[in-house]
């Protein structure tokens, strides 16, 4: 018995090493499961505030660009608004439930971002206090950015679209054929559009937008433009489509968050009928 204890004592460094490695691997696995509760990450108050200070300094230099983009977007929105305004002499009808807006929008600032790893995340400066919930979609005027993963009181962490674990339900705008956009972990300006059948006629330059099927994003938010069409070598039933992302992830500074207020109802319906929906 004493010998065993002595032996264990002699290899204590190795035991500690193995133990800490197991702990680390367990953390990696817990953190990367999309539904798993993230128990600590950069939405932590201390880390969040430090990241915010850093972002305050760094983003000061991109304020001009951000302003310009916001002005351009404002102008666009104003134009749409003018077109929508009801003329005083027309009859007003209550909208059918199919047209009731089920989406709520919020704004936030990106205070942490990465694009060089295969699992990239964004840290945002709004949290549960501001009504951010896990599962909300994140986008900016250029296109889709990601989806909220976990939320603390003041900060939140979102999967970037540049995260191999995230799939966004999307469609080709011109033909309405739907598929899923997923990043392959290689180039931060390109992603793949999966599950588009071989018979679909598509070409370079076609726009890819969100499909609205996944209950996270409203329909029609731009994701990117098809830059390469090739037959899929692994699975000949589908096409191998490369999408040039319209969002410049190295410059994302201000984002919108969208919440589908009907999400719970849709989700429970899906669960009831045992469909696992992608996000």
């Amino acid at each position: 018995m004493l010998r065993i204890l002595q032996f264990l004592y002699r290899i204590r460094a190795f035991i500690l090493f193995v133990f800490l490695e197991v702990v680390a691997v367990w953390m990696i696995v817990t953190n990367n499961s999309p539904q798993g509760a993230a128990f600590f990450n950069s939405s932590n108050a201390l880390v969040g505030s430090i990241l915010k200070q850093q972002a305050d300094v760094v983003q000061f230099f991109s304020l001009a660009d951000a302003n310009e983009a916001l002005t351009a977007e404002n102008a666009e929105i104003l134009q749409t608004l003018l077109a929508l305004q009801v003329k005083p002499d027309s009859i007003q009808l209550p909208l059918d439930s199919a047209f009731v807006a089920t989406y709520e929008f919020r704004g936030a600032r990106v205070i942490g971002n990465s694009l060089r790893f295969s699992q990239n995340y964004l840290t945002l400066n709004k949290g549960s206090k501001d009504g951010i919930k896990p599962g909300m979609g994140v986008f900016n005027p250029e296109g889709v950015v990601g989806r909220v993963k976990s939320v603390s009181e003041n900060y939140s962490v979102a999967f970037s679209l540049l995260n191999t674990g995230l799939m966004v339900s999307s469609k080709i705008k011109s033909t309405d054929v739907f598929g899923s956009v997923q990043w392959d972990g290689k180039n931060s300006t390109e992603a793949r559009l999966l599950f588009v059948p071989r018979h679909v006629k598509t070409q370079e330059g076609d726009t890819v937008v969100t499909s609205g099927f996944n209950a996270v994003f409203p329909e029609g938010i731009q994701i990117g433009i098809i830059s390469k069409v090739a037959p899929n070598e692994k699975d000949p039933n589908y096409l191998d489509l490369t999408v040039k992302l319209s969002t410049d992830f190295s410059k994302v500074s201000y984002v919108y968050l969208v919440e589908n207020t009907a999400f719970d109802e849709l989700d429970s319906l899906n669960r009831q009928s045992e469909i696992s929906n992608e996000y």
């Binding site: 460094a13 800490l20 691997v25 817990t30 950069s42 295969s118 392959d184």
Partner: protein, 173 residues
């Protein structure tokens, strides 16, 4: 190791950690060469330090970086590996006559050639563990090797540069 040394090591690790978080986090030359300058903090700790303490310090440092990198566990796993491998590697490349008790494995005390053969394989091991964890199930072996190779060279260069610039006048920071 007296208390003054301990504090100076803590200050060094804190400083390197902050530099890493604020300046080098999003830096990747050509998309493949990452900088892990905080590793200098683990590499430079005294040779006489017990492996258990070293592994603990490395794990904590890795965990703190993970919080900022949003890669929980990856830096921690890699840094733990580095600390464990360090004691084995130090024994393997010990000069004839062994190390002097107070020696620290730094550039100024051990010389350029020794330091390179000491740090480069360790940093490469660190990068391998880190990128394997990062690319698990997605990238191929080629991506991992590619990134590890260039990251370890880049990091090694930076680590040597930091020592040349800041460690020269006083032996210990």
């Amino acid at each position: 190791m007296n208390i003054r040394n301990l504090i100076s090591y803590l200050v060094l690790i804190l400083f390197l950690g902050l530099v890493q978080i604020f300046f080098l986090k999003n830096l990747a030359l050509f998309g493949v060469a990452f900088a892990f300058v905080h590793l200098l903090g683990i590499l430079i700790l005294p040779i006489s330090m017990r492996p258990v303490t070293l592994i603990f310090i490395a794990f904590l440092l890795g965990l703190v970086l993970d919080l900022f990198y949003e890669t929980i566990g990856m830096h921690a796993a890699a840094a733990t590996f580095l600390a464990f491998a360090r004691s084995l590697w130090l024994r393997a490349i010990s000069p004839t006559g062994g190390y002097v008790e107070t020696e620290e494995p730094s550039l100024s005390e051990m010389g350029f050639g020794w330091f390179l053969s000491y740090s480069l394989p360790l940093i490469f091991g660190y990068s391998m563990v880190f990128f394997t964890a990062d690319q698990w199930g997605t990238g191929g072996l080629w991506t991992i090797l590619n990134k590890s190779f260039f990251s370890s060279i880049f990091t090694c260069l930076l680590v040597i540069l930091v020592q040349l610039l800041f460690f020269k006048r006083r032996r210990r920071i």
